[in-house]
């Protein structure tokens, strides 16, 4: 284990304009601690699975060495169970009796800026591939916990730049790369030109087409105006 190996590599927080463009508060709102906890309660009520995942884990450790982000970084908080525990500790503090009475005993934590920073750092290092849930004896889906945490962070105005900015571009411009209309048009025209001009390597056409002659003629716009390929 390499403790805090990934502490320095913080993801970028989305700019206010990008957060607002997808309907979230621009910056971290006042009283975000209470709002985050309330949002968690809302999600727990809406998704029974999330509550089960929060409650069911017994820390058996079967998932600990299954996450490639943990294997790659060695940061213990990238172990799926530890990643979930970032949220589970808050869940226990506010939504379970033992966590309210004996927070130390069950590892419960208050919702603080440190906790939020940990959430932002480590939940955004999860690509929601669900490899860990394959190995979990309870079938706990870390991806769903990650989704919930990201939703909570968004709802208090602490979104990820490369998520919210891109979705904002999709809504505003029409594509995820943010290419303006004329630029996209030009790109596609160039691509079309390349497709018709470049002779395809013969071997590849032959190997993929049952009747090479026919296919080849179909690919030429001059001989065949209908551009449907049989390949």
């Amino acid at each position: 284990l390499k403790f805090d190996a990934m502490v320095e590599s913080n993801p970028y927080v989305a700019a206010a304009a990008h957060n607002e463009s997808v309907g979230f508060p621009g910056t971290l709102v006042d009283g975000w601690e209470q709002k985050a906890v309330a949002k968690m309660g809302e999600l727990l009520g809406k998704y029974r699975s999330l509550r089960v995942y929060m409650d069911a884990c017994v820390h058996c450790g079967a998932c600990t060495d299954k996450c490639h982000y943990f294997i790659g970084t060695g940061d213990p908080k990238n172990m799926p169970v530890a990643r979930q525990d970032l949220m589970r500790s808050v869940y226990r503090r506010y939504y379970t009796l033992p966590g309210k009475l004996f927070p130390k005993l069950v590892g419960a934590r208050d919702m603080t800026k440190d906790v939020l920073d940990d959430w932002f750092r480590y939940y955004n290092q999860c690509s929601e591939c669900r490899r860990c849930s394959v190995f979990c004896p309870y079938g706990i889906d870390t991806a769903e916990v990650t989704m919930a945490a990201k939703e909570i962070m968004d709802s208090v105005g602490h979104g990820h730049k490369y998520v919210n900015e891109i979705i904002g571009k999709v809504h505003k411009i029409g594509n995820n790369l943010g290419l303006p209309g004329p630029a996209l048009e030009n790109t596609l025209e160039g691509l079309e030109e390349d497709v018709w001009k470049t002779p395809a390597p013969r071997s590849s056409i032959r190997s993929t087409c049952r009747a090479p002659k026919y296919c080849w003629s179909r690919l030429r716009p001059t001989s065949s105006p209908s551009r449907t390929s049989t390949a």
């Binding site: 284990l1 820390h59 058996c60 079967a62 998932c63 600990t64 299954k66 069950v106 190995f135 004896p137």
Partner: protein, 236 residues
Amino acid sequence: MFREVVFFESLFKSNLWIWALGWLFHVGLALVLLRHLRYFTEPVNFIIAFIQPFGMYAGFAMAAGLAGLWARRFLVERIRYISTPSDHLMLALLLGIAVTGLAMKFLMHTDVVAVKTFFLGLMVLRNQSAACAPRPLPASGHGRAADDRVPRQQAAACPRRVLLADPQPGRQPARNPPSGALGGQNSRIRRTDMADETTPVAVAPPRPSQPPPPPSRPKRPRSSPRPIATSRPSRP
């Protein structure tokens, strides 16, 4: 689903150590729980009777599995990192159950006949008579003294009659020995918290051919209510 629940398939694919220890513990616990059914049921199901010896090994398996799982929490760095005090507490409590259970068998033996009598009585909130003390198991030595005094069929039929139907008031108990006549092991079973010794203890004469009376509400006069057994029988 069946494989997942019974054999912990994904845990097997995930980590052999956790699977081996965890499965050992869970199967051990299941067998031990089933084995304990004999203290709460009469007659004892033949499956429960069959697994009795395996239940003993299961007790050790359960303790071994728990000890192994607990050792992991200290020895494996990853598991140590994710363990909270409550995880240790859970294992400590479960291990406590296993160890005290084994101690009751091998270190300080418990009078299981008295335990069973007590629990069968507790289930219907009524005292059981000593003569009807059910044998814990067929061919088990624990209830031998009771067997000598009560014929076999009667001993088998006895609890149901006692539990479901009271004898008619005024009827002379046929086989109720006078107080103090019971000796040996049965003096321990004999409860001191009976209301008084004149209360008729229900031991019907053996009528194996006749089915037990229907479970009707007893029409017992409330003149001499018997206390409800709520505590462990006091032992000398």
